[in-house]
């Protein structure tokens, strides 16, 4: 099943492309890691790449800032074709791309402020300016009181904040996040994601994140891509991908098999606040007159718009009428015959 929400059309006028990857292929000695990757990331957006471990996500990220080379295809980042860069030009190019990692990658023997100053030191900033910038950024990430702490005295979330401050010192245009929240617990993950969102909004930095965690993508990304088997299987708006539930996504988040008992039918309802919204759902429930049960419901919210996926059991003989009612009110739905699980079976309608 190949699903693509016409993302080239979405890149309409006024949307500058920040990262453009075309037909990129890469192999290691023991085989392909990336096949025919195509990707467009707009200036100023937060884009998420999700996939299982070993799918090639991190390698793709490293191809984008030239930490890895690739055999064929193109990567044009910030109007620079990176395969054309020599070593010196590559260093200058990387200066404008920050990167953070799963294990934070801080220098254990340097204090927080020295860690943050390191990139500026490498680019020979004057010491006073360096210190000032580091303190400003540490204030931004909320670590003013930890300037002289050593990394081992910090919690995981604080370490990632230091790493974010360090990645911002050279005023990058792009921030690459390589499983940046995967080592953190859920509450800390949320706070780091909020920080990244602030960074994106306040500084206009384009963020490209790679993760295996769909929840992270749903929290802050507008658009996403799924990588499976070394290629991009799906690209599109997060809400579209979530509501369409392509096979790659089901594979990623785990298979949830839902059956309908005898005499009942399973109805899958995709809701968008912009199309019908709560009023439409009310109409549907009113039509069913209480003769339904909710098997599963996933409601998500992104930038004040909520969307969700509902699975309902309805009376089998009422199914056809219910589907019609949904269509009337602009609700996307699909129905499944009794006793067949969701996923890989024929739709009834």
């Amino acid at each position: 099943m190949y699903y693509n929400v016409n993302h080239d059309a979405e890149l309409g006028k006024g949307n500058e492309v920040m990262i453009k990857v075309q037909n990129l292929c890469k192999s290691y000695k023991n085989g392909r890691v990336l096949s025919d990757i195509n990707l467009h990331v707009q200036r100023g957006e937060i884009f998420g790449i999700v996939g299982q471990s070993g799918a090639g996500k991190s390698t793709l990220l490293r191809c984008i800032n030239g930490l890895e080379t690739f055999e064929s295809g193109k990567a044009i980042v910030n109007d620079t074709d990176i395969s054309q860069l020599n070593e010196t030009a590559m260093r200058g190019f990387r200066r404008k791309i920050g990167m953070i990692f799963q294990n934070f990658a801080l220098l254990n023997r340097k204090t927080v402020v020295d860690n943050v100053m390191l990139p500026m030191e490498c680019w020979h900033y004057p010491p006073v300016a360096m210190r000032k910038k580091a303190e400003e950024l540490l204030a931004l990430v909320g670590l003013t009181d930890k300037l002289n702490s050593l990394p081992h005295e910090l919690s995981g979330g604080q370490k990632q904040r230091v790493a974010i401050a360090r990645a911002l010192t050279l005023e990058p245009d792009i921030l690459l996040c390589d499983e940046a929240t995967s080592a953190l617990d859920p509450a800390i993950t949320q706070s780091i994601l909020e920080l990244l969102r602030d960074v994106n909004r306040q500084m206009g930095i384009t963020i490209l994140m790679v993760t295996h965690d769909m929840a992270v993508i749903k929290t802050i990304c507008k658009r996403m891509a799924i990588i499976t088997g070394n290629r991009i299987a799906t690209t599109g708006r997060v809400s579209d991908v979530f509501l369409a539930e392509p096979a790659e996504l089901r594979e990623l988040v785990g298979h949830k098999e839902i059956y309908a008992p005898a005499g009942r039918s399973l109805l899958r309802v995709a809701l968008r606040e912009s199309v019908g919204g709560p009023a439409a759902l009310y109409e549907l429930f009113a039509f069913l007159k209480g003769d339904f049960s909710i098997v599963s419901a996933d409601i998500e919210q992104f930038e004040a718009e909520s969307y969700g996926l509902l699975y309902l059991h309805v009376a089998a003989e009422q199914l056809e009428q219910t589907v019609l009612c949904c269509k009337q009110h602009g609700i996307e739905c699909s129905a499944y015959s009794p006793d067949s699980p969701v996923g890989g079976m024929a739709d009834v309608f």
């Binding site: 200066r95 990692f101 294990n103 990658a105 220098l107 023997r109 390191l118 990139p119 680019w123 010192t169």
Partner: protein
């Protein structure tokens, strides 16, 4: 009786033989360690840079340097001293005495120091290197601002071990004309059947080992902080 106390000349020799011997042992050790450290650092940088996982992999240089280092390491110190005596004479004008011993000791020490240092540098988290490259650090900046900085405690403990190892080597050098505590223990102790003299020097060496270890640990703690 195990010890023969009857005719020891320990006290007689203490000021004119033993104290100067302590001095020359320290001179040999100090200079061979400093020179070995300087050359060893250069070799370690070359090895780490050119290794297959290095900043600029170059298997030809890596294999050549690695092979040379291993070859020198395979010489027992006492053989090395004798074998390179023409070189020693060419460099310092003589092949006898503590000054002459510094040449073979340095030659024996730098491969050991280089290998210890290489191991310490390779231990540094690969992601830290990746992070440094991601903000555009040059290879030399990564080497000195990141790798050496992070590996310092481990390098210090490697150097402590090496220094103690080469304290023993200076005494071996004493057997082939280097002077120092080893020579005194052999000629004035062992060969003259003056057990007290011999064991007194063993004790002096033991105290020196403790001191080196103590200083090493002190520096380690300082840099680990």
């Amino acid at each position: 009786m195990f010890f023969n106390f009857s005719n020891t000349r320990l006290l007689e020799y203490l000021p004119e033989i033993i104290l100067p011997a302590i001095g020359s042992t320290l001179v040999m050790l100090f200079f061979s360690m400093v020179l070995g450290f300087v050359i060893g650092t250069v070799v370690a940088v070359v090895l780490v840079t050119t290794s297959p996982f290095g900043l600029k992999p170059n298997s030809r240089i890596y294999k050549t340097v690695g092979f040379s280092v291993n070859m020198i390491r395979s010489f027992p110190v006492i053989i090395l001293i004798v074998a390179i005596s023409p070189l020693t004479r060419a460099l310092v004008g003589t092949s006898i005495g503590e000054k002459a011993a510094i040449v073979p000791l340095t030659l024996a020490a730098f491969p050991v120091i280089a290998r210890y240092m290489e191991a310490s540098l390779l231990e540094v988290d690969r992601n830290v290197i990746l992070a440094a490259r991601s903000f555009g650090a040059s290879n030399s900046q990564i080497m000195f601002k990141v790798l050496f900085s992070e590996a310092l405690p481990s390098i210090v403990s490697g150097l402590t071990t090496t220094t103690i190892l080469f304290l023993a080597s200076t005494t071996l050098a004493g057997a082939v004309g280097a002077g120092g505590l080893g020579a005194v223990a052999l000629t004035f102790g062992y060969q003259r059947f003056d057990d007290v003299m011999m064991y007194a020097i063993v004790i002096i060496l033991f105290v020196m080992v403790l001191a080196i270890q103590g200083i090493g640990e002190l520096i380690y703690k300082k840099v680990k902080e």
